[in-house]
Symmetry: C2
Subunit: 441 residues, 2 copies
């Protein structure tokens, strides 16, 4: 029997077994990476020394101080580093010390794979933000929204039906819906692409529609296109937070999916949750999670609990103001940069009343959905790539290659380089007026 | 820009932002649960006070000091709490302090979802233990062995074949192979049950064989039954550690799966790894992990790294001696208890030379595979249940109900109650000699 004594001296804890871990964490945090990178506890260690700096794109050298001047802007993946400074500013509140014996077993005290504490905190957060109705609904946790997407398709497809359910989405859509649904090659469902591909659809056919709202890539607050007794929708709501959109109302869809990644910025933790109205759909999703991976890492659940509780401390005020201000500033810089261009255009998002901030607020989307307007610029990805801007091609969203998605939620460094490259591109456009006019005719 | 200063005073770190988390962890660890439970950081908090004790089965009360005398022994799931005391004894070494901004992004510096540091530590551990050849092989991480099992089936099933691959195992087998393979209802594979069900098998048929070695439930060092160009095996090696078996040789199977759960006892972290010889099988498994969940929680990977590095510090000596001694003692107590019974028998495991301990060693299996010998005891689970022993029925392993699996890897409390209940049962048997003889004729 190991006894952990509590030692108070002068009203302070005299730390014992946690001291070494705390010191290690402070030492790693104190490694200088010039504000253009950070070192991690589990970073690469060279020659038995401390972990190395992991630098932002375009920065290098042992302390990330060397800027590569001709470097391409990385605006590809949705790595949500825009919230990293927030967590550095709240270092003391958001740290957790995990003991070696923390939650070794499979189950929580209620015999489930789901932390009741975490579920309660998430319900509280939705209530405080007012973005989703959770009363009387069921929760399932997954490894990010990713794992829950297929769990939802599985749960909504009718069992033992003679023909597979059709899985559809509206173009432009997040490509993972397609690759994932196809990966599993199930007898129960089949990816059919765009909603409009369903010609001569009858009420007897089973259709599962992915609705992303706000949409990835274009930020639109999409709604389900199909309605009928055999049509069901999976609402991917991962961007439905005040960082990225006005919250016009608390949504009450039958099946909604959220993730830590786009709420607190912790994509690496792989944690998401589904909010489900129907009990049998809930049971099938829970069975899927249990049979495919015995639930979500309890370490990820502990982390999510701490981070969400920090967000809750101020009713979400601190994190959402930080997130919204950051994203709004970035959007304004981007629109200013491209405002003088005839070659590139951006999606339009109207200002809207936000019930959370209780005011009309402007756009602050996670992604820019850029269109190359010149007739010859059919491959917009290539046009931007040549100008050292790496986005994600329209074809990755089942859309025309005339479109490119630019991620705006990455590090400030990534965003700054992006604006620099786009400014150069627009400057070049304006310095070639004859060429541009000739081609615009 | 947030700067984390390093403050040394008198050769000691003056802790700043980590102090609160360290204190919280020590406070929670100091909560008295009488050695029959523990409190967790994310435990249920009543009336805003500190987290409550989570007690072992048969113990209750606010500090887990109340023993329920007529309580049933829980010998069902493979919750590996037998290693919990080891981690409490190594509290300082195994603690980690996770900062709020730890690994927020999707990728490690090499753009993968897999920590290169962790992969290197796992390779080192296999080399030190000498249980598996990893040189020149590929690694894929999953949410426990669970997620990797289906990833492996997916990767080994031929693509776009006209008929699905047959998935088989040898009875008795771990039931999840069946429930999981059936859950996904894939066009590419079909669960066919026992190997012997494959009548008139030809070399042209594709067969995927699950081989569990040591086997769950009976601890046998199984080998693949089928051999041929279209037959492949998934070696579930999660119990192939010195805790549970002699290590006769370093195994070199084409596809092997291991897990943290049965190595360090951290089932809740949901972390496992596959060691793969063939590059294209590796690529398909990696694609599966990426598309189904974008890899494994980076928090779980950080935890696994710390725990495995602690195990490595002494070449595994400390943890494996602790594990082996614990399991061997339990097996000896169990065999002693049942040695005077004619009603119940146990699987036989011969002593064997262990290359890790460099000596011949006796059995220390994770599970007892109990047989009810009396003709009328057809439902062995029910017989034991009436005697307040909850195991897992033979039918859960596709075997006869005359068998029951008893888990030996749970808490010491669970094991002690199990031995007490079994002793009572054997005593009862010996006090009814006439009945017993009459029925044994």
């Amino acid at each position: 029997l190991v006894v952990f004594n509590s030692l108070y001296t002068d009203g302070e804890w005299a730390l014992s077994w946690t001291k070494r871990a705390a010191e290690q964490a402070e030492q790693v945090a104190a490694i200088c990476c010039s504000g253009h990178g950070r070192a991690y506890l589990d970073g690469l260690v060279l020659d038995g020394k401390e972990p190395v700096c992991e630098c932002n794109s375009c920065y290098g050298g042992p302390d990330c101080s060397e800027f590569t001047t001709d470097c391409a802007a990385n605006a590809d993946s949705g790595n949500p580093y825009f919230l990293e400074p927030f967590w550095m500013q709240h270092a003391a509140k958001s740290a957790i010390l995990v003991s070696g014996w923390h939650r070794m077993g499979y189950s929580y005290p209620d015999d489930s794979y789901i932390s009741a504490q975490l579920e309660a905190s998430i319900r509280k957060l939705h209530a405080v933000v007012g973005n989703a109705v959770t009363e009387g609904k069921y929760f399932v946790f997954g490894a990010g929204s990713t794992q829950l997407l297929n769990a939802a398709v599985h749960a909504l497809a009718p069992e033992n039906s003679s023909s597979p359910a059709s899985v559809v989405a509206s173009i432009p859509y997040y490509k993972l819906y397609e690759t994932q649904t196809e990966l599993f090659r199930s007898l129960d469902y089949l990816f059919e692409g765009d909603v409009s591909s369903l010609k001569n659809i009858s009420d007897a056919d089973h259709v599962i529609e992915f609705v992303t709202s706000p949409n990835n890539p274009d930020g639109k607050l999409n709604k389900a296109v199909l309605h009928g007794p055999n049509f069901s929708a999976i609402y991917d709501r991962v961007y439905y937070w005040p960082h990225f959109t006005a919250i016009p109302a608390s949504v009450d869809d039958d099946l909604m999916i959220f993730s830590l990644s786009k709420l607190t910025g912790h994509a690496g933790s792989r944690f998401g949750w589904a909010v489900i109205k129907n009990e049998s759909v809930y049971q099938r999703m829970a069975e899927y999670m249990s049979t495919s991976s015995m639930g979500v890492s309890r370490d990820a659940q502990l982390r999510a609990l701490k981070l969400i509780d920090v967000a809750l401390e101020t009713g979400g005020r601190e994190i959402f103001e930080f997130g919204y201000t950051t994203m709004k500033d970035r959007w304004e810089k981007l629109t200013n940069t491209l405002s003088v261009s005839n070659r590139f255009s951006l999606q339009k998002i109207a200002p809207q009343y936000c019930t959370y901030f209780q005011k009309i607020r402007g756009p602050s989307p996670a992604y820019a959905w850029v269109k190359c307007e010149r007739e010859e610029d059919e491959d917009c990805y290539k046009v931007l790539e040549e100008a050292k801007v790496n986005g994600r091609s329209g074809s990755e969203f089942a859309a025309e290659n005339r479109y490119v998605r630019l991620s705006l939620i990455r590090t400030q460094d990534d965003f700054d380089v992006l604006i620099q490259r786009l400014s150069e591109l627009v400057l070049e456009e304006r310095q070639q007026p004859i060429y541009a006019i000739a081609n615009n005719v």
